[in-house]
Symmetry: C2
């Protein structure tokens, strides 16, 4: 036996009125009156729901009792042009089947918006929200676009080690990885922890960067990239720190600086263009709920050449600026985030 259903994204983009159709998903809401009920059904294939129209002369009201927000159902019926605005088609239900109910008293996701803090407490359910659905679909599109970009250019995807003995030039604080007894680890003659008895016979940690192995790959394969999880154990609760995140590191043999800058600019523009092309509905949702300027910023990123300037030129601009910086500027020192932001956001108003 094979499943016979069509994903809602497919129905909404290619469905022809007049077809008999089956959809399966999770109920977002149900409303209506004693003659007709409207179910908004989502299956995660897109942000939108499909409207399932239930005529209470066709289906008994009893059968709808468990069709509450969060319930998992099948709906089969005729696809028809929808008179409602914002949707081209809807389904006139002939048959409903309930795969799983969701107790309205207990199910925590309701039609009203929830705070991100609350959703964090119900992480097992948050992929069902518009926000996390959109984020996960956009992230998926970006991950695949990252691979397409590098593969088109002949880069080899490397899986660099996650468990490592290298601190990669001290890029960050590291998580220790061990199978030694947690409370009373074995010690050696010097009284130190005896890592020779640990799993790999030495002290190991989670990688802070695949760069070193990436460089070795590039010195054999020419063009390589990594795209995998990376870890930082700084005890810092800022938006700039994550304990675990996925990082992309291309390494190119024989590239001049201009080649590297071109690659970075092409890469970012390709990703932004892909997001605009493939994720418009999700981006519109995110823009309207979280970031009104999102589209303007994305379009300006692909619409202009990135600014390129030398370190010396950047220092000149920063020294001549009347802006008050928390950290002083001095030749030879690293630029701080506030300096980079000034150059990008105030001085050039585009990527630098």
């Amino acid at each position: 036996m094979k499943t016979q259903h069509t994903r809602i994204h497919e129905v909404l983009t290619h469905g022809q009125p007049g077809q008999e159709i089956t959809v399966k998903g999770w109920v977002r809401s149900r409303r209506g009156n004693k003659q007709v009920q409207f179910i908004a059904l989502n299956d995660g294939s897109c942000l939108a729901t499909i409207q399932v129209v239930v005529d209470l002369q066709t289906i008994e009201a009893d059968a709808l009792r468990a069709v509450t927000t969060g319930a998992c159902i099948r709906a089969t019926g005729l696809l028809v042009a929808s008179p409602a605005k914002g949707q081209s088609v809807e389904i006139q239900a002939r048959e409903l089947e309930i795969y799983g109910s969701a107790d309205p008293e207990a199910y925590p996701l309701q039609k009203k918006g929830h705070s991100l803090e609350f959703l964090r407490e119900i992480a097992h359910l948050r992929p069902r929200t518009n926000t996390f659905g959109a984020v996960l679909r956009v992230r998926n599109a970006m991950a695949f676009a990252i691979h397409r970009f590098f593969q088109q250019r002949g880069f080899v995807y490397l899986h660099t080690p996650i468990i490592t003995g290298s601190d990669c030039e001290g890029a960050g604080e590291m998580f220790r990885v061990t199978t030694l007894d947690a409370k009373e680890p074995p010690t050696n003659e010097q009284g130190a922890v005896d890592y020779e008895q640990d799993f790999f016979g030495r002290e190991t940690a989670l990688t802070v960067s695949g760069q070193l192995e990436g460089e070795l790959g590039a010195l054999a394969l020419g063009l390589v990239y990594t795209f995998g999880p990376t870890f930082r154990a700084e005890n810092s609760n800022t938006a700039r720190h994550l304990a675990e995140f996925w990082m992309i590191e291309p390494e190119m043999a024989f590239y001049e600086l201009t080649d590297t800058m071109d690659l970075a600019e092409d890469f970012l523009k390709f990703l932004v263009q892909t997001a605009l092309d493939e994720c418009s509905a999700d981006l519109e949702f995110l823009s309207s709920h979280y970031d009104k300027d999102l589209f303007e910023r994305l379009r300006s990123t692909i619409g202009s050449a990135f600014e390129r300037l030398s370190y010396g030129e950047a220092l000149d601009i920063l020294e001549k600026s009347t802006k008050k910086f928390e950290f002083p500027i001095s030749w030879g020192g690293d630029l701080q985030a506030e300096h980079e932001r000034y150059l990008v956001e105030e001085c050039f108003k585009r990527p630098v």
Copy 2:
């Protein structure tokens, strides 16, 4: 300034004799006489080397002294049809530049074959060998094909957590991840290690499976897959155990068993077909050096429908077989590797 060079794979597949061309790479070998020298140059873009022909009337012999195995060089010259067999074109060098030399006394990779055990001791150089170059290119092609397969079918790629507090139904032994003091961890009132003081406020480990989060994703997005690193801390030195490996886990809502079997069969066939289409030179190398039956096995995998049978049917076959198994067969027990191998390799002679 931008680099002006063509990758060797591009030269060998699309290069037109009569072009002036620049290649950059690592010397595999140099041989010849007092009139002419032949450099085999590889840049990792493919298994093959390109032959750079050096006329000692054009380039002084002195300039060639550092052109030894492992040296990194640029060669510029005219691309011409090659009289040698096994290559369509070669380069008549007009200019050589040495980016980095490799002391012939010290450089450990020489033209002769090396054992895998030896290469493991020089892991920083082994991507330059034919074997590891081939493996890394095939792995790259397979990784991208995995993404293409799922993306074409509307699956969402999920990055499930690497650091976790879940043991995923005891799928394997786990590595502990911690920032507590290694020698004298803090203890609580009960005298146990006080994980409330650890980075995440509880005991954490490296994931043995993304399955649980994948299932939550599927119950919101419908079709998802994971493809990321996974860890097993069993102290086992067999070919069936890796401490760190990349695992693929699709999770599908609303799939019937037949759908799942179809997906698995289509997936494997797609990967094998892609390998045959895109990696033929690398597979030929691996076949001739490591596995004479490789192509036959790959072609038979895509050439026939996979066998499908119920657990009960499998048990029947195993019980009726005259084969002596190490582990007894009994209804309700798991099949062991030897049972699965018998069904695949001896009984059906194809994937089951």
